[in-house]
């Protein structure tokens, strides 16, 4: 049974962001457990993803739809494609339970998404709920809280 060091935990978060910026989306999807969710709340401190609207609350099926759509020949809204840039603060380890293999990390970030001549800056905090699966780390929940989650946005095309 592997016990992860702090560096291994924080490196996991950095590596995940790099996969997104390098658009290695299939590798990225493989980081998630089969029952994982990616959640972007619509309200500050939101607790309920089911009976309150969110910007995103997607299981692995819906994440896969997103990833496959990005590569589709008739995905006109991605012609030309968007690009992203993550700037992460050092992740804080909020919880580390080596016995059960469950870890929670919180990472402040700035995220830039560009398409054509437009560039949009988003700021927020990502919370990673990780679990040990076959001696590797996997994401069970990635929660992205934007500082202005309730603002009116234009398109958000990629993943923060």
């Amino acid at each position: 049974m592997t016990s992860f060091t702090d560096k291994q935990l924080t490196d996991f978060v950095y590596a995940e962001a790099r996969m997104l910026d390098e658009q290695r989306f299939d590798d990225w999807l493989n980081l998630f457990t089969e029952d994982a969710y990616y959640w972007m709340p619509l309200a500050p401190g939101q607790q309920d993803p089911r009976l309150h609207a969110s910007l995103l609350y997607e299981d692995k099926l819906l994440l896969r739809v997103r990833v496959e759509r990005l590569a589709g020949a008739r995905t006109y809204s991605q012609q030309p494609r968007s690009r992203s840039h993550h700037l992460l603060q050092q992740p804080g380890i909020e919880q580390a339970d080596h016995a059960t293999g469950r870890y929670v990390l919180r990472t402040a970030f700035h995220y830039v998404e560009t398409r054509q001549d437009a560039q949009t800056l988003f700021a927020g905090w990502a919370t990673h709920e990780l679990m040990r699966v076959d001696d590797a780390l996997r994401i069970q929940l990635k929660r992205v809280d934007l500082v202005n989650c309730d603002a009116a946005f234009g398109n958000i095309n990629l993943f923060m």
Binding site: A53, L62, I156
Partner: protein, 442 residues
């Protein structure tokens, strides 16, 4: 030199039988005239009474580009006031929603107003003694809009004091709001789940036009709904169909499906898709819900309510309602090329939570700034907003299944791929743009 202001004939000439001029979408002067005339002559949705349940509760928004506040007055009625201090112009109510108690207080000089807008007090009032204050606008308080009508808790207003009556304006189209409310076993809706706000760099009418455009889903949404269906097909046999797939899949139905589902056209620019069938017709039932409806209405009436599966109902000028999925979308004009889309959701009071959950999932999958279906639509709107500036063509075609005999007909059901409803909107546009426009007036 103005092209359209004071020239109602020039405005009328922009709408032909089967085409409309590009200026409707790109010309700032026409946009300003829409705000002055179209959004002042018509009944525009403001909000829902459940947003202001208690005395002093308020909600701030816009009608056209006018800032307004909807407030529950001390007598229990709902008032809609221009959100503007009569003194220096400051917006009096600042939060999106809140409770102001028995009066509004301007943050600038502490003038106060009753919740019907009337002036309550002015600090150091004697400074106005002998100035003729009481004969000036400022003494009248916050101005109410021209007229307010609350229909089954939906609050509409007409900015102009005179004009078309509420019943005359909406006619039989109110049946969609009726159906949505009747879907609650208690006959009541509540705004629930938050509002999705999505900024569009395009003209507000592109969104309204799109609500009854049934020849685009299988094309524009092939990328999103089509991919969802394809990914789902890879799931192991026997996997229960997820709610998300049930919501996505009908978007890529065939042309034949959309032809057969039908469109109904009412007067004054109102109309709906989904007469005989719709993309909302085949959702899985929520356990216990039908029994609740039968208990409330009797079996025959319950079946009638739930069997009415209208798709998109356009309430001209700028909202769309989905009865079966309890959603109301507002297309809020900001500029000729900028529109804020708000997508609101409702709880059917007394019904299972699963229905609200489905409504919220639908809204998230289709109407959020993160929605792949939304991305498909916004891409084509924004391309059109740019493309329309080309000088090689001046007109937009809305001629699908045009019949010269359609003019003047109302309450008619027709082929689901007809653009009759769009033509209906443009006829209403001309009517309410020019109703209060004087020749030569500037």
């Amino acid at each position: 030199m103005t092209k359209y202001q004071g020239h109602p004939d020039a405005v009328r000439a922009l709408v032909r039988d089967i085409e409309v001029h590009k200026d409707l979408y790109i010309d700032p002067e026409l946009f300003a005239l829409e705000m002055e005339h179209l959004f002042a002559n018509t009944w525009v949705y403001v909000g829902h009474a459940s947003q202001v349940p208690n005395k002093g509760d308020y909600y701030t928004t816009t009608v056209g580009t006018e800032p307004v506040v909807m407030v529950r007055h001390t007598d229990g009625s709902v008032k809609v006031l221009y959100n503007r201090c009569p003194h220096k112009g400051t917006k009096v109510a600042g939060e999106v929603c809140g409770n102001t108690g028995k009066f509004f207080r301007c943050p600038y000089h502490a003038w106060t107003f009753k919740t019907d807008g009337s002036l309550l007090s002015v600090p150091l009032k004697r400074g106005y003694d002998g100035t003729g204050f009481e004969t000036h606008e400022a003494s009248k308080g916050m101005a109410p809009v021209g007229a307010v009508q609350v229909y089954r808790d939906f609050v509409f207003c007409r900015l102009n004091a005179e004009g078309v009556g509420f019943e005359e304006f909406f006619g039989q189209s109110l049946s969609t709001l009726d159906n949505m409310v009747d879907r609650s076993p208690e006959g009541r809706l509540e705004v629930a789940g938050g509002v999705l706000r999505y900024m569009h760099n395009c003209n507000w009418k592109m969104l309204v036009d799109n609500q009854t455009d049934t020849c685009h889903p299988m094309v524009a949404h092939e990328s999103s709904a089509g991919t969802a269906v394809r990914v789902w097909k890879e799931a192991p046999e026997g996997t229960p169909k997820p709610m998300a797939v049930e919501l996505y899949a009908p978007f890529v139905s065939s042309y034949e499906f959309f032809e057969n589902m039908g469109i109904r056209v009412w007067d004054n620019g109102h109309g709906h898709t989904g007469v005989a069938d719709s993309i909302h017709a085949a959702y899985s039932p929520a356990p216990g819900y039908f029994e609740q409806m039968v208990a409330a209405y009797g079996e025959e009436r319950a079946k009638q309510i739930l069997g009415d599966v209208r798709h998109n109902t356009v309430y001209f000028p700028n909202i769309m309602v989905k009865g079966p999925i309890q959603t109301l979308r507002r297309f809020l004009p900001i500029a000729a090329d900028k529109t804020l889309v708000e997508s609101w959701t409702f709880r059917l009071v007394g019904a299972p939570d699963l229905l609200l959950e489905r409504t919220l999932m639908y809204n998230r999958l289709v109407n959020a700034p993160t929605s792949v279906v939304g991305h498909d639509d916004l891409e084509v709107y924004e391309r059109a907003q740019e493309g329309l500036h080309a000088r090689g063509r001046d007109w937009i075609n809305v001629g699908r299944l045009y019949d010269p005999a359609e003019r003047g007909q109302v309450n008619v059901a027709t082929n689901g791929t007809s653009e009759w409803q769009m033509r209906n909107q443009f006829r209403a546009w001309t009517r309410y743009m020019t109703a209060s426009m004087k020749e030569g007036a500037v």
